[in-house]
Amino acid sequence: MEEQFDPVIVAFVCNWCTYTASDLAGTSRLGYPKNIRLIRVMCTGMVDTQYIFKAFLEGVDGVLVSGCHPGDCHYINGNFKARRRMKLLKTILPQFGIAENRLRLTWIGASDGIAFAETMQRLVDQIRELGPNPARLQNVI
């Protein structure tokens, strides 16, 4: 049997919602795939476009940005700013062959431990289907 492709996914999660949800998933002993590398940030609104370019240039197969639902942002509107930035990146990256679906934005609230675990599993399945990031294999720094 062919060896299954093991994607690397970097997830920028906001301190107040999605990180808290991941914590809840952990304390509830809900498993989620080890492919996800969580990076805790204070707000999705501080996820600079550079973080995402760097991740893809380093060869990660997917990037997730996840924070509070609209209206729930701890800083009032950081997630709305993040959404515009995602729109921008999802317009730029596909022009250079990085599929739009490798970059995802979700809202997962602090009490959504179950939703967190499920979303991570779905994300890994989908990125696995897309295959490795072409930049992973090439010297494109």
């Binding site: 209206g71 999802k90 730029i92 250079f96 979700t106 720094i141």
Partner: protein
């Protein structure tokens, strides 16, 4: 408000006629200085000069084949506080658009400023301009304008204007207070100037110029040019997309890049006061380079090339006015303008935005709405 006036022209000397118009403006009490391209030393270099003495307008070249830099940044410097008098700035259409973007970012102001723009036939890249100027000496500009505005399209093609100019579909000075019409100018006809704002109309009135009827030939000539340019633009964009549609091809496109950052310096809308690539964030430890090399067996030096260009796309592609200065200053001749114009077309249309068009419209990344872009949210979408 709409006012049209004639300015006299002798022997088809466009530059001289506009120069006299500027002298008239500077001699009036309305304007304290004129910012206009001129030959500071009489030699073959044309750069903007801030002129307060009408005598010094002698060497002015208001419309020239040289485009050494985008003056938007200079106007921004002159207007970020009150300069103590009104400045009339003679700008190309793309310089006006870039300045509009800078005003939106609070890096310039339209107070104390009158913008005068002329129909722009395009410009030569630096290297081509030097060769052209060498060949034609002090007749270079006259020669250039004569060919560029001639009705014979093929001779205008021979001029080898910059790739960004060949793909420019906004060659008329929208956003200027006063527009100088040069498209469709017939030999022997007078040059028409148009007030496009209240401020422009007031200035024309103060100069005592008589109202005339607008000549429709300009409109027709401009539309013809724009439709030819649109086609060239589309071809350029398609070629560029095909040449960069994978990361590997993009790396190849930039393989000659030496990280000199000239494109960043020349870009009129690269707005950061301090570029992150100039900070110690990018002073990597030597072991870091070794690690990068070790991971794939080798690493291109200098590093962070694609990272730099992608970051610039994220920062300025929604503000890119297509002036082509990035390509003009590239020592490695990378066709940067083609790539940035092609990326900008996508990002600006994603936000329904056109850089430099409307001074009252906020830049797309400076605002948001609560209910928008739902398509970028969620895991289920798309795949």
């Amino acid at each position: 408000m709409s006012r049209t006036a004639d300015i006299n022209i002798k022997d088809n000397q466009i530059g001289e006629a506009i120069g006299q118009f500027l002298t008239k403006i500077l001699e009036s009490d309305e304007v304290a200085a004129v910012l206009v391209p001129h030959r500071p030393t009489g030699k073959n270099m044309i750069l903007p000069g801030l002129i307060t003495d009408p005598e010094h307008l002698q060497g002015a070249e208001p419309v020239s084949p040289a485009f050494a830099l985008n003056s938007a940044r200079l106007v921004s410097r002159l207007t970020r506080q009150s300069p103590g008098g009104t400045i009339a700035a003679i700008l190309r259409p793309c310089e006006i658009r870039a300045f509009v973007e800078l005003v939106k970012l609070n890096q310039g102001s339209t107070e104390n400023l009158v913008i005068i723009g002329a129909d722009c036939p395009g410009a030569l890249q630096n290297a081509d301009f030097f060769a052209f100027a060498e060949k034609h000496g002090d007749k270079a500009t006259a020669r250039f304008l004569e060919t560029a505005f001639s009705e014979d399209e093929s001779s205008a093609e021979d001029l080898q204007i910059a790739p960004a100019c060949r793909a420019c579909t906004q060659p008329t000075p929208e956003g200027a207070d006063i527009a100088i019409g040069l498209f469709g100018l017939q030999p022997g006809a007078k040059i028409q100037v148009y007030a496009q704002t209240e401020q422009g109309a007031a200035l024309l009135e103060k100069l005592g110029l008589e109202e005339t009827q607008a000549d429709e030939k300009r409109q027709t000539a401009a539309e013809d040019l724009i439709s030819r340019r649109s086609q060239a633009r589309q071809e350029m964009i398609e070629q560029t997309r095909a040449a960069t549609d994978t990361m590997e091809k993009l790396a190849d496109y930039f393989s000659r890049c030496i990280n000199c950052y000239n494109c960043r310096t020349a870009c009129p809308v690269c707005y950061c006061r301090e570029c992150v690539f100039a900070t110690d964030v990018f002073d990597h430890e030597p072991v870091q380079y070794m690690k990068w090399a070790g991971r794939r067996g080798s690493v291109k030096m200098p590093t962070d090339t694609l990272f730099f260009h992608l970051t610039r796309m994220a920062h300025i592609s929604t503000a890119c006015v297509g002036c082509g200065q990035c390509a003009n200053v590239c020592p490695s001749n990378i066709p940067l303008a083609a790539l940035f114009i092609s990326v900008a077309e996508q990002t600006q249309s994603a936000f329904g935005y056109q850089a430099g068009k409307n001074i009252d419209e906020q830049p797309p990344l400076a605002v948001f709405q609560e209910d928008e872009f739902q398509e970028v949210v969620g895991i289920e979408n798309g795949s």
